[in-house]
Amino acid sequence: MIHSSSTVELADDLAADYAPHKRSFWRALVASPSGLIGLVVVAVLILAALLAPVIAPYDPLRMAAGPRLQPPSLNHLMGTDDFGRDVISRIIYGARLTLQIGVIAVGISLTAGLLLGLVAGYSSGWTERILMRLVDVLFSFTEIVIALACLAIFGVGLTNAMIAIGIASIPFYARVTHSVVLVEKGKPYFEAAVAAGAGHMRLIFLHLLPNVVPTLIVIGTLGVSTAILAAAGLSFLGLGAQPPQPEWGFMLSSSRDLISRAPWMMIFPGLAIAITVLGFNLLGDGIREALDPRQKER
């Protein structure tokens, strides 16, 4: 077969046309209420993480920064915990851990899931059938059980929990990628590229990958919230963050026995998790609407 390089390039151009235009994307994102609120929440979280030493009134680990179990006051806006540590300072520093969790866990699951989904979707036949069957089975085990299995292997701790959550979500990302690849494979630009004689690598990385990316950005953003929730849950159970880390889920677990005496120890870390997760959920919804305006009507 003669490979005319110009036809392959033409097909590449066609594929590029599917990519959304950058400027209108940002405008659409900010125009939707969920996108705007999500963006603000996430920006605040990132700022809190970066500027923690500047804005936190106390050292998050310093015991007896104030009297123990103080209710919220001007000195301690969110009160103090059972070691006399300042709760708001711990929450501000906790933003660092939370972001780290989101980035590492989603990084792992996104990369592995993307590769699996691309290979399965592109290859078709037995490879696809076996891979996707396996992914389905793992999916039905649920993420928490896979994460528990991983922690049973690696041992407990926050870093291990992040990795475990990353691994546990691979099946989900693989499934989404696979289904997007199947849709893209049926589109004219892809058939044109195949007809033009594009090689496997070119087809996978130049044609399929760019068209999977928009969906994965949405899924990945929503996935950050799932990862944060899961990590908080594991830390709450004593499998993730260990004392004295200022991790929000762990803070909630140490508030458990003091709920009636010091409800602020339970309310503020929980609010921090809920607002952060809500922010990433709204941002994910906003990005989806901005990428695909038809979604708006739903």
Binding site: I144, L148, A152, G249, L252, I259, P263, V277
Partner: protein, 306 residues
């Protein structure tokens, strides 16, 4: 229909089979010596550790171990737990009714609350009812389940003292079931809403309205029945989520189910119990999804006759 059930059963068997392989491999992925990790905290001599290794079959090649595992499995033997030295299957079966009670009651709450909210939102689409329901749903999705649990505990058990903090009887089931149910209702509400919106836009609903059928008949007999189909198809997954969610919620409310057991097992590195739990969990979820798929087939004739 018979063929459909057979197919689903076969798929469930494949899932369980893969789970048996996964749990056998699991113990080999542990970095270092699993026997030493498991028994490290006990006073054991190297000879005793070796004896344990032989008893667990860990001195054999992995495929021999797998066959031994399967052989014992068909006899209902999942090994003995390290902490407490009890048969793993017995421990799991004693704890399972509590988890099942929690999961089923929260599924019920999730369905009733989630579907009504989603249905209402779709019916009143674009109004403040819709917006309110969806804001509630996204807040519900974003809230950590265990935090919702702590809030409910604080409010109903500690402040108002309407319900016990823990216990084991049906009254102490209310708060955990409500927590898990409401948390999952949010997901179902979003799902039901989008399914119902698709249905309301379809021709047969317009026709039913146009020919002057009473609104209640159009809503319940036409719209709801077909709108339920995609939602029911998700219930198998919902059940799995609830079983997973129960692991965390059981720990919030000191509810003595298999989830609490699993966390204790991971913390104490009780590998036979961890392996048993994973296999047990996979089996329950696989069988439940067969049951739900069959229910789904009754609802959707396209599946029954295909």
């Amino acid at each position: 229909m018979g063929k459909f059930i057979l197919q689903r059963l076969l798929a469930a068997l494949v899932t369980i089979w893969i789970a048996t392989i996964a749990v056998t491999i699991l113990i080999h992925l542990v970095p270092g010596d699993p026997v030493r990790i498991m028994y490290g905290s006990f006073q054991t001599t190297p000879e005793e550790l070796e004896a344990i290794r032989v008893r667990l079959g860990l001195d054999q090649p992995i495929w021999t171990q797998y066959l031994m595992y399967l052989e014992r499995l068909v006899q209902g033997d999942l090994g003995r737990s390290i902490v407490g030295d009890q048969p793993v299957l017995d421990v799991l079966l004693t704890r399972f009714p509590a988890t099942l009670a929690l999961t089923v009651s929260s599924l019920f709450i999730a369905i009733v609350v989630g579907m009504s909210l989603g249905f209402l939102a779709a019916y009143k689409r674009g109004t403040w009812v819709d917006v309110g329901a969806m804001v509630l749903a996204i807040v519900g999705v974003s809230m950590p389940h265990f935090w919702l649990g702590l809030l409910l505990l604080f409010l109903f058990a500690l402040q108002l003292q309407w319900l016990p903090v823990a216990g084991g009887d049906w009254r102490s089931l209310i708060l955990p079931a409500l927590t898990l149910g409401l948390a999952n209702a949010a997901v179902l509400a979003r799902l039901t809403r989008s399914a119902m919106i698709d249905i309301f836009d379809q021709d047969f609903i317009r026709t039913a309205r146009a020919k002057g059928l009473p609104r209640s008949i159009v809503l319940y007999r036409h719209a709801l029945r077909s709108g339920l189909v995609p939602v029911v198809s998700m219930l198998g997954l919902q059940f799995a989520y609830l079983m997973g969610g129960a692991i965390v919620i059981e720990n919030v409310f000191a509810w003595n189910g298999v989830g609490r057991l699993a966390i204790e097992a991971v913390l104490s590195r009780d590998y036979p119990l961890i392996q048993g739990f994973i296999l047990f969990f996979a089996t329950v979820v696989a069988l439940a999804s067969v049951v739900i798929d069959i229910a789904y087939a009754f609802l959707d004739p396209r599946i029954r006759y295909s």
